[in-house]
Symmetry: C2
Subunit: 449 residues, 2 copies
């Protein structure tokens, strides 16, 4: 949708809202539809080709408005999460379908998804141990619980551990910044020997620093054998898995108990929208379920209704699946795939430019839209380069630290980015680098004199 269509459609929507407000007294206060009404009214998968805005708005009037906020909000979310799960070719067990035990939920952020998974795992292991030894208190168990994540995992995993009141251990990643079987197994053996209770592993697909991938095909079977909850955090990279050529990066997800990524990062859905799936929804609801009278309803135990309040930290929720519905239909799966591919191609184009310049080095394998690079030389030199780039304010880079090396990150993430922007950015970086190197040379010369 270009700016002129945005103007037209945006104004139509303003009128739609005003009409709604003006006519609100004529509407019924409670919908006539029955729980489960929505699924049969919309396709079971996202369209491959883009649809028109008119078609979508017509469906809003026909399908959503009669279902009011509830149950439409809940039911569209369940179906959209199934659509998205199928786009990613998630194993069937993660889908809600008509009678599945799994399903998806929209969380606000990946941080919350990780925390929710950790809490569900904590409850599950606690109940399990207490069933065998009823004298064990929750605290006695929590004292021994250990969660694991790679040393490259996002800080939100550590935060989840803090909040959940359990220990978190960092597993040293390998030369490619990936968590591997051997390092995890070693930690598990050591901790079990010390009387601790491993219960939760976070595998990251697409780490924040350098977009490395934990080895899920190695880590998954270990978690499965040891009975550990495996949560897969693909906050950024997950969007790419809708492309068949990147789907292999998700192999091993069949071993996971929960999986999460952020469509708000790279799938054109506005912030916030973090997509989380679980294989057994009762594991989540078991951790949070509370039912005061003022929240009870007549379909409480019918199994027909998904009470998302038991799937998340907050009680109230917004109608975030509408954003997904619009985006998936406006672009079609093919349009979204093309968008991802373009970004990955641009990242490789930038990588090629960097590799042509012998003063620079690439610091981690480029798989998706992120390029980690630096000037050959000291951290100080690269800090100076970053400082000069970010002070010039033509482009903005966020650095990271890889094994104590200060590294610059070039991330392709704007909706409208083109090759010309990448080339301009690279020219700009080269100029800044030349100046920084010159200054360094002069400094060295001065010290010599």
């Amino acid at each position: 949708m270009n700016a002129s269509e945005f103007r037209r459609r945006g104004k139509e929507m303003v009128d739609y809202m005003a009409d709604y407000l003006e006519g609100i007294e004529g509407r019924q206060v409670f919908p006539d539809v029955c729980p489960g009404y929505l699924r049969s009214l919309i396709p079971t998968t996202a369209p491959q080709e883009p649809e028109t805005f008119e078609a979508i708005i017509e469906d809003v009037e026909k399908i959503i408005m009669p279902g009011a906020a509830s149950p439409a909000c809940t039911e569209l979310e369940t179906v959209m999460m199934d659509w998205l799960g199928k786009m990613l070719q998630l194993p069937e067990a993660f889908l809600a379908g008509e009678a599945g035990e799994g399903g998806g939920v929209i969380q606000g952020t990946a941080s919350e998804a990780t925390l929710v998974a950790l809490l569900a795992a904590r409850t599950k292991v606690t109940r399990h141990l207490q069933a065998a030894s009823p004298e064990l208190t929750q605290a006695a168990i929590m004292e021994k619980l250990v969660a694991y994540a790679s040393d490259q995992a996002h800080s939100s995993v550590e935060k989840a551990g803090l909040i959940g009141g359990v220990r978190l251990k960092a597993i040293p990643s390998d030369g490619k910044f990936a968590m591997r079987a051997s390092a995890l197994q070693e930690a598990l053996e050591r901790d079990k020997a010390a009387g601790l209770i491993p219960f939760f592993v976070v595998a990251t697909l697409g780490t924040t620093s350098c977009c490395s991938f934990d080895n899920l095909l190695e880590v998954g079977p270990i978690c499965h054998e040891e009975g550990l909850w495996l949560h897969v955090d693909a906050a950024y990279a997950g969007s790419a898995f809708i492309c068949p050529e990147f789907r292999h990066l998700l192999n091993g997800v069949e071993f996971a108990d929960s999986f999460n990524f952020n469509p708000h990062k790279w799938l054109l859905v506005n912030f916030d929208c973090s997509a989380m799936w679980v294989k057994k929804r009762t594991d989540l609801t078991g951790a949070f379920r509370l039912d005061p009278v003022y929240l009870r309803h007549s379909h409480q135990d019918s199994g027909l209704i998904t009470d998302y309040r038991h799937w998340q930290l907050p009680l109230g929720r917004r109608f975030r699946s509408l954003k997904m519905w619009f985006v998936f239909r406006m672009y079609g799966v093919k349009g979204l795939q093309a968008y991802i591919r373009k970004h990955v191609q641009l990242a490789h184009a930038f990588e090629a430019l960097v590799r042509q310049d012998a003063r620079f080095e690439i610091c981690a394998e480029v798989t998706l839209g992120l390029v980690c690079f630096r000037l050959k030389g000291s951290n100080k030199l690269n800090e100076a380069l970053l400082e000069s780039i970010n002070s010039a304010k033509k482009i903005h880079l966020v650095p990271c630290s890889l094994r104590d090396r200060f590294v610059l990150r070039f991330a392709i993430c704007s909706r409208t980015v083109e090759l010309a922007h990448v080339q301009l950015a690279w020219e700009h970086i080269r100029e800044m680098a030349a100046a920084v190197l010159r200054a360094q040379g002069e400094e060295k010369a001065e010290i010599k004199n």
Copy 2:
């Protein structure tokens, strides 16, 4: 703003967004402003009288756009929370000001605010105990921690206890559904005698079921003396405290460590927007602070910058203070006060109607916009009444249970509600009641025959 002005302004905003997108390449990627730039550009308090939409949009262009997402998003939030805190006449200690130790943050929901407060309190008491006895493990402490709330507290408090892994005890409320000193003191003494460690009390101002108020002037001093973290949950009622005649309901907040209410419930700010204040911001940040390289910045320790990510569960955040800024200025404090007053008057009007009908009774004191009522008679009768009202779908009521009595709740909450609506609703309820009573009479007659 009526529908026709909404049409006009809405369309202007669509153009504003499209212009922004079309001109984005001409903008600088990083703002020129310095941390702290915003406070001096806007007044220190909300306006009393409404301002024009033009004036606000002009300020968006002048004050917000040069500050980009960061730091404008953070700084406007701090200032808006100060505005709102002043509207409520919160004690100075809760305001950020220029050098305060406290301050406000926008959470998504009251549930999250309660959880964040509980986690901060848990960390604080744990560190305190470990400082005195370094051999104590976190688990050993958590096993003994006890949180307290009235038996009328919202289920989100129980959820926070579950997540935080600490025991929560319900304090029996008094005849007016309020938590009082004696009941709390009794529980504290009993638990301390049993070797437990009280650490956290939630006082509710405006309970969900019947809008009762815990006695903060009694509970506050106890918490203060015993060194317990006092969190005040005024999710619904908080908005009313902007009116001087309702401000006394907040007396005692000076004893609290944290205070929360939802402007999205009753202050015309769209969902979600839950306003939370703390007296010592380091208590929050101490519970969550983690600083990986990719989130570090050059003002890290200058004290000039508020890192709201350490104040909340998620990492990412939306620019929710903009909604507050618009609403506070479009209505002015006087407009917002008038809005609250109107709702309270309508609730009293409904109460008067109910009191005129001898078949009905009022079940709890009407203080704000909620009226709890029922037919004199059995729970079954009232369940039948609710069922017939909600099936007719002209109005919708949510019930509650007060000391095992099934009670109907009439809540004034629409932005456009008028006395005529209230009167119509009451006529409708009377008709439904007559039918239900007739049916009951017939049933009884049948049983007799």
